[in-house]
Homo-oligomer: 408 residues x 2
């Protein structure tokens, strides 16, 4: 199945090299295809690592192991397998991951726990150990590659390579951050795995890096949804090689910590948006901003209820300013809301205020807004000061075609 | 927009008259159409009533009022408006409902609170009082009609009239139950309102009728989902006219109470299934049975997570035995589950057991099962004794066409 490039695609940016983080790619032939499907990133000694993982309780061995590994906070290598998610494969799947960790650790002379592995692709088939071994052998011989090649190699059914970059001045030094991500392009029986990797030459202590990544995650990756389904393998890892020469960041009191946090935040948000822009069948990018809720958490849950509503998503696909469906989604969220204080708008124009359609509501500018590719929905609950913003895409025939029409 | 009759439709059954419950229909012209859109059922003095309503906090005035009215337990009339849901219409919407209640109460010489009103259709437009008044005038002059005519008149974008019947022997008397329902046929900007009405000639005290309806509701209407969206107006009312002559049922110790409860249960389940069979774009009826969960409630939440997963629903549409997507849906439900004790089957054939694909899994009978119209998915969590069954339909291009391609 050939997928057309998403109409919401963005060109891959120019990305700087990160000293101490060297990507290489190779062919492990995890599927019957002729493309690179194994990504290897060698990391300098002393590299800090932090990670956030899926909450799906049926997670893969890679996720189980990764969750434990980040606690030690140090990494020397990342291996990403594409074409086989190795999820729901029992002890045989776990053995394959441990074999990769041992092989790489032997080559680099590091602890096995410093080798991070991710896999994405078909579920229920143990990752073949022989292919993994030959793939690692090959990638260790390969020349370094670009971040764009790495982004393409971690992809499965993504329709474009996704990367973003940011920088900050920390302790008088310029530090660079780069990120690559793969997203929600799924074909039966593959999974909607989101895998994201961030590399920076800044020196950041592991605990602080984890604190920053967790915080950025709540404002980025946890604020996007394509179809409400949660992969068994979702993973975002951040690696800080420390080669920029700044005094290691340990907390917000350190010089430049704020600047680094802001750069990481921006990078995570850009990467998250790119995943939505490659959502299956997506024709429109939708921002949903909720204000006036009982709390920020409540606003977040209301915003996600709207973003996950098939009726709201199909209305946007149909370029229909259907605020009634937004009302319905607010009401079903199970959060404090009052029909008679609720206001709803599109593209900055209120359609309904305080529980009633506006008497002088002019649909013309709203209709024009909905014809565009970037849609905004504003919802004010009218109860408190809680705010949240989430991002999603519309629900189109393309989603059905990708997920139903093609058989595994 | 003309919708084709659902391929899952069932013929309308022969339904008995219920002494003391007389349906009539008329044209109120709530929309620019030439069809009956106002249903009126006159109920004998002393009729008991019970009701269950949407939990959507942005509910309509009809739901707000109905919730209060059932507490008194007595009904003399039901009015159902089709073409206008009167939801999100503020005080003007409420005035229209109270006008209808007052007009009917004046005609019948009953208390206003004994007149129950439901509305379904466009949202955000106050129900026009003049049309409602003329419609009530007309329906009071109309001849009694059949239950099938009533079922057609409460419909909006349903593709077939939906009704079911049951009977029981109570206190030596045969009692009849009939039910009509409208379901999840939605067109922008209409809502997915489910309205169901049950009539019986049995004598049942209101409190016991409410207890029975609430219990049946948890096993029927609360176990179906088309697209996870919850209408602002969902309502099921049960009316017991008491004309069958049995000693009024007051609790399970009364003769025939078990038989009546079983009949009501069966009726509710049949009506709920009919709603799924008219789900938008539905090509397949799906039963999801979860066992081995930590509790029945946990099993119910897991079953609904599967039933609401767009990836599972599109897989069934594609006749794809994609158990990996079922694993994902179990894992995201947020309920106790263990990947390594999880088993999944289709049509009675296990595909995966104890967290791994079955070595001798024969996909042929499963593939054959998935080609049919009635699909079953079995999930065993392997943790406890909790069980639940829910019903849904597949997610097809028809759903997108109905909800996105046609503009309001």
């Amino acid at each position: 199945m050939d997928l057309e490039t998403s109409p919401l695609a963005r060109p891959f940016p120019d990305m700087p090299a990160i000293a101490g983080a060297t990507p290489r790619i190779a062919r492990a032939h995890y599927k019957d295809w002729d493309r690179c499907d194994l990504t290897f990133v060698e990391l300098a000694e002393g590299t800090s690592v932090a990670g956030v993982f899926t909450r799906n309780v049926c997670c893969s061995s890679e996720v189980e192991l990764g969750r434990e590994q980040v606690k030690a906070g140090r990494a020397r290598a990342l291996v990403v397998n594409a074409g086989n998610s190795n999820a729901f494969t029992g002890y045989r799947g776990r053995e394959a991951v441990e074999q990769i960790m041992a092989q790489v650790a032997g080559e680099l002379g590091c602890a096995q726990e410093e080798v991070f592995v991710s896999s994405t692709g078909v579920i229920g088939v143990p990752l073949p150990k022989d292919k993994a071994k030959a793939g690692i052998d090959a990638v260790l011989q390969a020349a370094p590659c670009s971040w764009e090649d790495a982004a393409l190699t971690i992809s499965t059914t993504d329709t474009f390579a996704k990367g973003a970059t940011a920088s900050a001045i920390v302790d008088g030094k310029r530090v660079e951050l780069v990120g690559i991500i793969k997203g929600s392009g799924m074909i039966a029986p593959d999974m909607a795995t989101m895998l994201g990797y961030i590399f920076t030459d800044a020196a950041v202590e592991p605990a602080f890096l984890q604190q920053l990544l967790s915080a950025s995650n709540t404002r980025s990756f946890n604020c996007i949804t394509v179809d409400s389904d949660t992969s068994t393998s979702d993973t975002v890892l951040a690696f800080a090689t420390g080669t920029a020469g700044n005094a290691p960041l340990t907390g917000f009191d350190d010089a430049g910590a704020d600047a680094f946090a802001a750069a990481l935040d921006q990078l995570c948000r850009e990467l998250a948006h790119l995943v939505v822009r490659d959502g299956e069948g997506a024709q429109k990018f939708i921002e949903i901003a909720v204000s006036g809720a009982a709390s920020d958490e409540s606003a977040h849950r209301i915003a996600l209820a709207i973003a996950n509503s098939p009726l709201v998503k199909t209305a946007i696909a149909g370029e229909d300013a259907n605020w009634g469906r937004v009302v319905m989604a607010v009401g079903k969220a199970g959060e404090p809301a009052d029909r008679d204080t609720l206001s709803i708008g599109f593209g900055g124009v209120w359609a309904a205020k305080d529980g009633q359609p506006l008497a002088d509501y002019d649909e013309a500018p709203v209709a024009e807004h909905l014809k565009g590719q970037d849609i905004t929905i504003q919802v004010d609950i009218g109860l408190g000061g809680g705010c949240a913003t989430v991002w999603t895409c519309d629900l189109t025939h393309g989603y059905i075609s990708i997920n139903a029409d093609y058989r595994s």
